[in-house]
């Protein structure tokens, strides 16, 4: 599907199927991060099942590992494994399709789940490219609640110290975490200034669920020299249906039959509208 905006909604449907069949999943963050992952995997990064062994391909670490169901939907669409296999096996006894990244599966580089690991690991990946004179770029996606982890800022410090302009981090700024509003739990509305103070180039993506805006931001990041870039992508948690949107209890929740019917209807309607945009 060449229309990435519509594809993101199709992948949301697959994500919902994974969660409903597996009876588990971090649905709210899955929905908010979908355009970020779609733009990265289908437009920005040269990562595919065919080039995983190529040392010069781009690198990606899913730091907000709990949005695994969305990541499964994207990796399946890329051809790393069949989506029906994920839907059938996710969270089931003995399955490799667990609730956080598992690098025994194709397409997944690093295990995560505990937060604040992705950015420092990506510093190492981006540093390797600098040491070797390689051109690949390194990407990571973090949650906004995740930014309370001190290790994020250790990584941020090193990324600017080593002038890693081949590193691009994305913050899925959906403003909700498991206990409620991020500003109530641990405020970081000044996170643009924080990243700038750490020597980063900061791009605010007004609508982080807008593929075009994300594309522009990623393209701008590629032109930045001498410093890493972070995209603060302002997203909507639960994006796709009013049933879930901006509701903290949907951090992880499995929709009941009635909710599911409404969510699916909403997702299909939005996909249809985008197809004919």
């Amino acid at each position: 599907m060449s229309n990435l905006k519509a594809l993101a909604y199709e992948l949301r449907e697959n994500t919902i199927d994974i969660i409903v069949e597996g009876k588990a999943g971090h649905i709210g963050g899955d929905m908010s991060v979908m355009e970020i992952l779609t733009e990265l995997y289908f437009e920005q990064m040269n990562i595919s099942p065919e080039n995983m062994d190529d040392p010069d391909r781009d690198k990606f670490v899913m730091s907000k590992g709990h949005s695994m169901e969305a990541y499964y939907a994207v990796l399946a669409e890329k051809g790393f494994f069949p989506i029906q296999e994920v839907i059938g096996q996710f969270s089931k006894f003995g399955s490799q399709y667990i609730g956080h990244p598992n690098n025994k599966l194709p397409g997944i580089e690093m295990n995560s789940g505990s937060l604040g690991h992705g950015l420092p690991v990506c510093v190492g990946m981006a540093l390797a490219a600098k040491m070797n004179g390689q051109e690949y770029r390194t990407y990571t996606v973090m949650g906004d609640g995740e930014l309370a982890e001190g290790s994020v800022w250790e990584g941020a410090m090193a990324a600017s110290h080593y002038k890693l302009d081949n590193l691009c981090a994305v913050v899925d700024r959906n403003r909700l975490q498991i206990s409620g509003n991020t500003e109530d739990v641990m405020a970081h509305d000044d996170l643009h200034e924080r990243f700038r103070a750490f020597g980063w180039h900061v791009i605010d993506v007004t609508d982080g669920n807008n593929i075009s805006q994300l594309k522009d931001a990623f393209e701008e990041a590629k032109t930045v020299k001498g410093k890493p870039t972070v995209l603060i992508a302002n997203t909507v948690k639960g994006k796709g249906s009013p049933v879930m949107e901006n509701k903290a209890p949907w951090h992880h929740k499995v929709p009941n039959a009635e909710e599911l019917a409404q969510i699916k209807k909403d997702l299909r309607e939005r996909k249809e509208a985008l197809l004919h945009e």
Partner: protein, 311 residues
Amino acid sequence: MNKIANRQVICDVLVEAAKEDKEIVALCSDSRGSASLTKFAETHPKQFVEVGIAEQNLVSISAGLAKCGKKPYAASPASFLSTRSYEQCKVDVAYSNTNVKLIGISGGVSYGALGMSHHSAQDIAAMCSIPNMRVYIPSDRLQTEHLFKSLLKDEKPAYIRVGRNPVEDVYEEGNVPFEMDKATVLSEGADIAIIACGEMVKPAADAAKILETKGIHATVIDMYCIKPLDKETIVKAASGAKAVITVEEHAPFGGLGSMVSQVVGSQCPRKVVNMALPDAPVITGTSKEVFDHYGLTGEGIAKKAEELLRI
């Protein structure tokens, strides 16, 4: 008395290897001096990464480098490496199976009077309980050299602890029996089996000499490979002895003693006595003073053996 610390040997091995293998990278957390890696940083500046005082970052960056084909050796005081960055060791190194060698320097009570914050008396327990993490504690500089030359050849995670100060040689130059993941048997005797690691191997060997003068024959085992543990050698030694003593520079729980006791208890039941540091902040002093105080000496071990055999 030997003047070369085990950490110095590690640097020498890495400096040599890095001349040929440009993928070798040494990383420090403001610890290049403590790790004796200054020479590496000067000889191979493009293969050296400084992360500042940030041990979590040290381990995560190492994992990222390893994932992209580098061969990282991350050196930081064992106390911080094994606890401050424990989760990074677990998730980014062991669970993600990245080729990172974690070098815990100034291990055990090496930092003496600096206190419990700087002692690593829990690292064997912590590291051994992580799946896919190997744990090595070499006894002297000569064994350290063999161990690192062997580690250079594999691509799996490992944690290695060495002390700060030079220790007396256990082996002789040019005559160092070493087989990777196989404990070294220093002597064989039918009365008691003494199983030790790291800096406790020398006093264990001393104890055997003291016991010999009293007609007590001891098997002494250098269990530098704590994980994978050489169970075969343990069972053979314990089966051929009346009792077993373990000696380690570690807390009394979850270390070599616990692991040996599990093996002996299940496979060849014998009385096993664990000699270790106390379950408390250790007394202030140099390593020698601390070991003397807790009886972790040739005399102390021999005395314990005699008591055991008398019962």
